[in-house]
Point group: C2
Chain length 434, copies 2
């Protein structure tokens, strides 16, 4: 690449899958990468652009003119084309659309630009093969032949009426096996799943996962067929959802990646750190009320950490289990009371084991029995309270329509810390006769 | 259902998708559910059994005789049949296989039982359509007609040589559009992805996701075609992977669900709670060395919580970002130094903001300037150390071949707590002239 040896590069890259060329591009400087992509034929170049990470792509395309971009957008799948254009400044976006040779593609893109990214309409592509219900199989195959260039993965032909309303689908398998003169009417399957444009992406993902669908037709409120969503896009939705839930649980707001700027990362992380800090300040204020007690029994301070960390750990464990069962909608939803009962049973066993060990430790290092009783009772109480909080908080947030993962991490930890210290110092004040 | 009104139930259920009948079954008693499934035709019943949650299915099938089970297993996809049989006691498993009417299915199942659940061989199904490279398209369609009953989703026909070695694939689209007498040889696509039986499930998931594959052929070491993995099974692998990583980060070992028994949940949660407890005991032992200091400056105790929680929060945030970029193999892998540098920059800004606020709070409530300096310097140090630990630990575990998610949650928190207290009390002892 260093010598910009065009023919050699072309021969080497021809052997590779487009996705592997993408990986190589990440390792190159933008200028070099542009050179490599320009050596490829437009179709391969378009595939690589579709496969690039959005952040990288935005930077990368800054080096291209609108004419160059439009050549690639012209042959991209309409959903990928819209994703790419949405990352561009409005001026570039409009120029590219105006320059598109394929006017149908331009119309597709303008249609799709209306939809938010996180609804069915924003996930769909316009490329699909449809057949009128009155056609024969032969007419259907002719249509397929016309569309074959544009529609990469077919899965099934969608059957519509004269008003373009979706009636059902016809699998490629059935087309292959059918007689050429059979009417589609007698062949197609009207038992099918479809989705309206405004349905949220997670609902679409759930539907396709639950019913093992490869592609899902998208209709408008009148039932007119507008596009389809393919399973590979849904796999991406599922992966992104999982990663953003994990980040939310770790106290990170928004979809941050390691290679985002320092400022983006700080902004995503600071809010929950501040929540934790506020909790810490409240804890400090609270503990300072007990300063006189601490002068008399300074050993009390030594158990502040174990109270805090146990409450935090139990709360996170409990809320994660609840979050997991909230995410898995296929199972039976247990009632709140049944959930709490089970969590309390687990809390009872864990609490008994942990407080017994800590009790033994206290006696072993020669602390007073009274202090040992205080610490162990506080631990049991904290484990119960944290189990309660960890069960109820995500359920409540879910009921309120807030993503329960968002507030389950640092929020639960901070709340449990405060409750824990309250119980501990309260018990100590009472039981140690301070 | 209460009145066991068979014809009425049959009529009602015929209107529903099998996956929706599954949901209804979860709400019924086992005895009632068995009655409902027996009302359905065998094909629908088999679909529902394949869709049931493994735990529910094990309990549910206890009510069935081996003959009844074999009727369903006879028509299940081979991969689902094996999953179902693996949950049964060995005696039932052998009886069911012996009773299978379809001897080919029995052979498929015996083949698949060899493989572990978490490798490509354990994910594949034997049902596929293959064609010899010397056939014509017409012969291929005939084969497709024969197999059409058994293979639910075809996607593509696999092309093999006389020794059953995989040569390439032929999409259904190409078959539909080709002339009947064309030789497959001149039509098939040899540029394709395939996988060996022993490859781990995550690698298969990554491959299918990266290259947007609907189905992936599985071969043995000699290149013989043994089966195929379809995308719907991979979607399940991805979802399970994400959920088990989240649980691991929350300090839960193994794949626990909310409806597992109390004992299973306790066993999954206790180990990391014990790790946290050990950390707490060590912290207690450590802090007790400073008891004399605490008697002189009891206000020191009040800031133990904020030191611990800040270290924990920063560590979890940092490790989650690293984990996310480890999981996303498509991007460029930054070096350790570059990663640390970026993390430190973020730590510097966050540390400066948080320690300034806490410094202000300390002066506001009238604490001594010296104590305020100790607390804020400890906070900055803790934020840096936690960023370091949060970056290095997952990278190190990943290098050692351990799942980095497993030890990132409670392990990082516990380690950061201990480091934090060390820094805090050390600084206090030095700076407060104790």
């Amino acid at each position: 690449v260093q010598q910009e040896n065009a023919p050699a590069i072309r021969t080497e890259l021809k052997e590779l899958f487009p996705e592997d060329i993408t990986s190589i591009l990440y390792e190159l400087e933008t200028e070099q990468a542009r050179f490599v992509v320009n050596q490829l034929d437009t179709k391969l170049g378009a595939k690589i652009l579709a496969d690039l990470d959005p952040n990288e792509r935005r930077d990368f395309l800054k080096e291209f003119t609108s004419e160059e971009i439009s050549r690639y957008v012209n042959i991209l799948d309409s959903d990928d084309a819209v994703d790419l254009l949405n990352e561009q400044p409005i001026r570039v976006r409009e120029e590219v659309i105006a320059l598109l040779e394929d006017r149908e593609q331009a119309r597709f893109i303008l249609d799709l630009l209306h939809y938010d990214e996180d609804v069915a309409g924003g996930l769909m592509q316009k490329e699909l093969v449809k057949a009128n219900v009155n056609w024969t199989v032969n007419q259907c195959i002719e249509e397929l032949r016309k569309q074959a260039e544009d529609v990469e993965k077919v899965y099934a032909v969608y059957v519509v009426d004269d008003h373009d309303r979706l009636l059902g689908l016809l699998s490629l398998k059935k087309i292959v096996l059918a007689h050429k003169n059979t009417k589609i009417e007698s062949l197609y399957d009207s038992d099918m799943h479809y989705v309206e444009t405004y349905r949220p992406a997670e609902e679409v993902a759930e539907l396709m996962q639950r019913y093992d669908l490869d592609a899902l037709p998208v209709v408008n409120v009148q039932g007119r067929l507008l596009g389809r969503i393919t399973i590979d896009d849904i796999v991406d939705v599922i992966t992104e959802q999982a990663s953003s839930d994990t980040l939310a649980m770790a106290g990170i707001t928004g979809d941050v990646e390691e290679d985002d700027t320092v400022w983006e990362q700080t902004r995503a992380r600071l809010p929950w750190l501040l929540v934790g800090m506020m909790g810490g300040i409240l804890a400090a204020k609270f503990i300072s009320f007990f300063e006189d007690d601490l002068i008399i029994v300074p050993a009390m301070a030594a158990f502040i950490p174990i109270i805090g960390s146990t409450g935090g750990n139990v709360g996170i464990q409990t809320s994660s289990i609840i979050l997991q069962s909230l995410a898995d909608k296929s199972g039976l939803d247990a009632g709140v009371w049944q959930r709490l009962l089970r969590m309390f049973a687990v809390a009872f066993i864990n609490g008994l084991i942990i407080s017994s060990i800590v009790f033994g430790f206290n006696l072993l290092i020669g602390n007073e029995v009274q202090l040992a009783v205080v610490v162990s009772s506080a631990l049991i109480s904290v484990i119960f309270l944290a189990s309660f909080m960890g069960t109820v908080t995500p359920l409540l947030l879910d009921k309120l329509g807030i993503n329960p993962a968002v507030a389950s991490g640092p929020f639960i930890t901070t709340a449990n810390d405060l409750i824990g210290y309250g119980v501990y110092f309260g018990l100590a004040h009472l039981l140690l006769d301070l």
